[in-house]
């Protein structure tokens, strides 16, 4: 029995050592770290608005089928008023689903000793961990204290505190032991190579707290891989798009994302991304005016989604010819005006010293301009043909 226990202790010690080695290695691997506390900048109202706007709100993506047990849907008969109310609620629900995990500094573990009692030395052969299980406390407020074998009473380190919280008040989906996906390099690499970014980030958010070193390391790894594979659209309209854009803006590598946005004709998002990077690095360029102009011209993602929902209530005969032209082209008159403002701002950025991949961006902008011009001509021609008054 004794031998068994000794063996187990040895094993535990080895495992702990292994764990420490692994974290150290991954720390050295991930080169991109937040050098100062990003939280004030991230939670800032303007930044949040920019990030939410960049994330967009595509309802079919937010409410897509997920790999969960219950994917059932409910069918109901409703009046039009009820349906309109339900639409508003749906948008609220979607907004909640798109809540971004916060970007905060890594929390340092400090040793907080409550008392030292040398007379208690060797009172037992292993330490005691006490957890306060008082009802209704928040996990962060829950006191966990450790009485060491040498009689020292201290607050538990963060790792122990998290483990005890998970033991007595388990969170659904969080494992007591590190999932192999995060502990073994090759498994994570396989996930990355399969472009399962959202899966990794979702699981990361469940498994780790945002202030943990592992959270930062793994998310940095995912974002770096994503920047190389350029599959940004996989994260668009998910809760991880905001932190991703913030990460690129912070580390001055927005060009690939910018190129993707221009190519997909999300010009106002591109402007917001550039504005964000200016804001983070305190670049003396006036962007507020452009942003407010764009905001006046274009609805927010939530408004746009609601509009889209409400438009399916209308019968095709009720929609005017103008509406039909707009749906055929995919743009309104305001959109064309907004595009012009955005393009000016983006070209200014490409001309400045902040842009790294100038040629690529210029080409993308040029192509987009040509396509836009064609669309505008078609738009005007269609309007003229149908006899709609130019406003």
């Amino acid at each position: 029995m004794l031998i068994l226990r000794q063996l187990r202790k040895l094993n535990a010690a080895q495992r702990l050592q292994l764990g420490v080695d692994q974290t150290r290695r991954s720390l050295s691997d991930a080169s991109l770290q937040y050098d100062k506390d990003p939280q004030p900048l991230f939670t800032d109202a303007e930044t949040q608005r920019l990030l939410q706007s960049m994330t967009q709100l595509q309802l079919e993506k937010v409410f897509r089928k997920r790999t969960v047990e219950d994917n059932s849907t409910e069918t109901k008969f409703m009046t039009t008023e009820q349906l309109e109310k339900e639409f508003v609620l749906t948008i609220e629900k979607a907004k909640k689903l798109l809540q971004m995990p916060p970007v905060v500094q890594i929390k340092k573990d400090t040793e907080r000793i409550i008392s030292k009692d040398p007379a208690l030395k060797d009172f037992a052969d292993s330490k005691y961990v006490f957890t306060d299980i008082t009802f209704g406390l928040r996990p962060s407020d829950r006191k966990v204290v450790v009485r060491d074998v040498d009689g020292t009473l201290a607050y538990a380190p963060l790792e122990t505190q998290k483990r005890m919280n998970q033991l007595y008040f388990p969170l659904v989906g969080r494992r007591s032991y590190t999932p192999r996906m995060f502990s073994e390099e090759q498994l994570l690499q396989r996930c990355l190579d399969d472009h399962k970014y959202e899966f990794i980030l979702d699981r990361l958010t469940v498994q780790y707290e945002p202030y943990e070193a592992e959270f930062h390391n793994i998310s940095a790894k995912v974002f770096t891989h994503l920047n190389e594979s350029k599959q940004f659209d996989l994260l668009r309209s998910t809760r991880h798009f905001g932190p991703m854009a913030f990460f690129y803006a912070w580390h001055r590598c927005i060009d690939d994302l910018l190129y993707d946005m221009i190519r997909r004709d999300y010009l106002s998002n591109a402007v917001q991304l550039i504005a964000l990077s200016y804001k983070i690095h305190n670049v003396p360029v006036e962007y507020g005016q452009t942003l407010s102009q764009l905001e006046a011209l274009q609805p927010t993602p939530a408004e746009r989604a609601l509009e889209e929902l409400l438009s399916c209530l209308k019968k095709p005969s009720e929609k005017g010819i103008e509406q039909e032209i707009q749906t055929a082209i995919g743009k309104t008159e305001q959109d064309f005006a907004a595009d012009e403002i955005s393009l000016k701002f983006i070209e200014q950025y490409i001309g400045s010293e902040h842009a790294l991949k100038k040629v690529q961006l210029e080409l993308a902008v040029q192509t987009l301009k040509e396509v836009n011009l064609e669309k505008l001509q078609l738009f005007k021609g269609l309007k003229k043909a149908h006899g709609v008054q130019a406003s």
């Binding site: 208690l120 060797d122 009172f123 005691y128 006490f130 306060d132 299980i133 008082t134 009802f135």
Partner: protein, 130 residues
Amino acid sequence: MSLSPASGIGRFYKHSAKIIRFARHGCTNRPFFHIVVMERRKNQHQPVIEQVGSYDPLPNVTNERLVALNTERIRYWLGKGAHMSDPVAELLGIAGLLPVHPHTYMTAWRNRKAAAEAAAAEAVKPAETA
């Protein structure tokens, strides 16, 4: 022996003596204790008034003994004049909730003494063989 809910189903008299004590809930060779409040005169396996914690005396894989204490309710019952069994008083002393129990100091002193004697015997043995 069935498990009663933590909020307790035990019936009790208003002015009877209550005690905070262990109730053994392990199996053979694997002790595990609930820290419970019950009437002093009752057997440990009878329905309890309230469960206020748990104690696992066997060290886990990281060599820790885990104790959970509902400190709010423990303080409530102590304030109501509940008694405490010695093991629970020792445990609360170790936790820093109460002053350290004298028995803990005695155990510590005895352990240190035994260790010193063992070390001395170890030191003498090689000298004899040599």
